[in-house]
């Protein structure tokens, strides 16, 4: 019993660690490729007269896209395990095929979107296609491999009743949602709109006026990877890692209580605790940094008079 529990906690910790890496890689990947909500501004920029050299990877939203990559990786790994291939090798082959599909989708999205903007004189830059696609593929490989390895741990070590491809789909969607919700606002508002005043939002007149020139030369999507890997990526990783860790932790520890309902109650308690923490962080951030409070609005007037 105790040995089982210790193994369960160990697997939970390992799965949480894998998920953290997955979340960080996923957000970095999507920011390099401009997928998700910041994509709309990249798409809009040429229409407003701002020709740019930023990647435009429009493959639906991140949750369905990562649902496919991870389900595909897990499905191929499952198929190779079904014909008795070594599990680690099967997971690598699965992630590799999924990354191939991801890379092809990325190129067709960039070519399609850019060619359809010919009216606004936005050219297709082939060097972007060559240099950025491979970098997103590398990050996607890390994200997919860690996610499907985590799913395999759930099946093999924790005895999860779902088959591997279904777990890949579910956790892939969760991974895309975590990266999209946590990391993208950071890239979209703070990286693309550095020319706007901090906290000013994006007024209609500034739509499409994204940062196109770098400190030296022209901004490439690869710079977004460097920027994201500092804060947005790790934040997404922490988010997804915590989701996976708490999900497994509550099941491993509390499932024996009240005929399985112990785990459900523990889940509700965890959500309530996080709601309180979130509320506290939000109000603290608004009072500390927000420019729209009455006190902050009154200060410039005093200075002027």
């Amino acid at each position: 019993m105790v040995e089982n529990l210790v193994l369960g906690i160990g697997v939970t910790a390992l799965a949480g660690a894998l998920a953290t890496v997955a979340g960080a890689a996923e957000d970095t990947e999507s920011d390099i490729g401009s997928q998700g909500d910041p994509n709309s501004q990249v798409q809009l920029a040429p229409q407003m007269g701002y020709i740019h050299r930023i990647y435009n990877k429009a493959i639906s939203g991140e949750p369905p896209a990562y649902g496919l990559w991870c389900a595909l990786g897990a499905g191929i790994a499952w198929a190779f395990m079904a014909i008795n291939l070594n599990a680690i090798l099967a997971l690598i082959v699965g992630a590799a095929v999924a990354v191939f599909v991801q890379g092809v989708y990325a190129t067709t999205a960039y070519l399609g979107r850019t060619a359809s903007l010919a009216k606004f004189e936005q050219p297709v830059y082939i060097d972007i296609l060559k240099s950025v696609t491979t970098v997103t593929m590398a990050h996607a490989f890390v994200a997919i491999f860690t996610t499907i390895s985590m799913c395999y741990l759930m099946v093999a070590a924790l005895g999860h009743p779902f088959p591997l491809p279904l777990l890949g789909l579910v956790w892939g969607i969760a991974l895309g949602a975590a990266g999209s919700a946590t990391g993208n606002p950071f890239y979209g508002k703070e990286r693309q709109y550095q020319e706007q005043k901090f906290g000013a939002g994006v007024p209609i007149s500034a739509s499409g006026n994204i940062v196109r020139y770098a400190e030296a030369g022209e901004r490439s999507s690869l710079d977004n990877g460097w920027f994201t890997s500092k804060l947005g990526g790790p934040a997404s990783g922490l988010c997804f890692g915590l989701i996976v860790f708490f999900e497994l932790w509550r099941t491993v520890l509390f499932e024996p209580f009240a005929g399985g309902w112990g785990a459900v109650i523990a889940g509700v308690v965890v959500i309530l605790i996080f709601m309180v923490i979130d509320r506290f962080v939000e109000t603290w951030a608004r009072t500390t940094f927000g420019p729209y409070t009455e006190v902050a609005a009154a200060e410039p007037e005093e200075a002027a008079s």
Binding site: G61, P64, A79, Y105, E121, I126, P165, R212
Partner: protein
């Protein structure tokens, strides 16, 4: 996405694309029945060809539906297509030889109901809603049946819930290692759902052209077929799976090359390692 969706004018009419799509898809899926007649598995790849036809048709349906200003709804249209299609497909697989034809009828009925609910009850008021949701339900069901019959070599329900596994050298029948028991159908669901919405989502913009979007659709179809061919190693003989992989690869390489050529034709300019050229009108 705050993108204004504009649809290219002219080109092949939607009705003709629908006719080619439904006939091509049904004929190809029926060709997998040669497996039963000849007692082999090598005709399984026809299922994938059927799914490619369905994806090619579905792309134009999504384009017709989403020209009514449903920008962010493009990926959702792919999901509802496959989501409603899976119900029709599972029901139809119980019909034996009549499965593909029965699938079209069941999916059409289901699509009309869903279209009516979203158009009249939810008051979306989009003129083509009922027709396009009906088409998309049939498309989704055909994609699932096509890829499922490619992976298992048959469009019968019993073959999708039973598989074999080797246990100490003895082959035993099992539900766990089957298309549905192993949830490979979930992977096919996502492969189809993304492939059907991606071409229009990727090519939308003022200079969208029909032949490029449709070529992208065929490319996405063959790409999904490659993935299904790799997974079919779990269900089919090695020679049948390799043949499927080969057919998918050849189709993908051809369509991908053509797509790049068409993108080159439509692009404003095709530059390699050149700086930003500010537009003549000025930023």
């Amino acid at each position: 996405m705050s993108v204004k969706v504009e649809v290219s004018e002219g080109g092949v009419p939607h009705d003709r694309i629908m006719a080619i799509g439904i006939v091509g898809s049904l004929v190809a899926i029926y060709l997998t029945y040669l497996n039963v007649l000849t007692g082999t598995q090598i005709f399984s790849f026809f299922g994938g060809i059927g799914a490619v036809f369905a994806i090619w048709w579905g792309t134009d349906s999504i384009k017709t539906l989403c020209s009514y200003g449903i920008g962010t709804g493009v990926p959702s249209a792919g999901m509802i297509s496959l989501g409603s299609g899976v119900i029709a497909m599972l029901l139809a697989t119980k019909l034996g030889v009549a499965a593909p034809i029965g699938l079209v009828i069941i999916a059409a009925v289901l699509g009309v109901i869903l279209g009516f609910l979203s158009d009249k009850v939810l008051n979306m008021n989009i003129p083509v809603m009922i027709r396009q949701l009906t088409e998309l339900t049939i498309v989704g069901a055909l994609i699932l049946l096509g890829f499922a019959s490619m992976a298992t070599g048959s469009f019968a329900f019993i073959d999708m819930i039973t598989g074999t596994t080797t246990f100490f050298g003895i082959e035993i029948a099992t539900y766990t290692y089957s298309l549905i028991g192993g949830s490979v159908i979930a992977v096919i669901f996502m492969l189809g759902g993304i492939a059907i919405q991606h071409p229009f989502n990727a090519c939308l913009g003022p200079n969208e052209s029909q032949d490029r979007t449709q070529m992208c659709a065929a490319e996405c179809g063959f790409l999904s077929m490659i993935a299904v061919a790799v997974m079919s190693f779990a269900f089919l003989s090695v020679s049948a799976a390799i043949l499927g992989l080969l057919v998918a690869f050849i189709g993908w390489i051809y369509t991908y090359n053509e797509y790049i050529k068409l993108s080159k034709r439509d692009a404003y300019d095709w530059l390699d390692a050149k700086p930003i050229r500010e537009p003549k009108g000025g930023a």
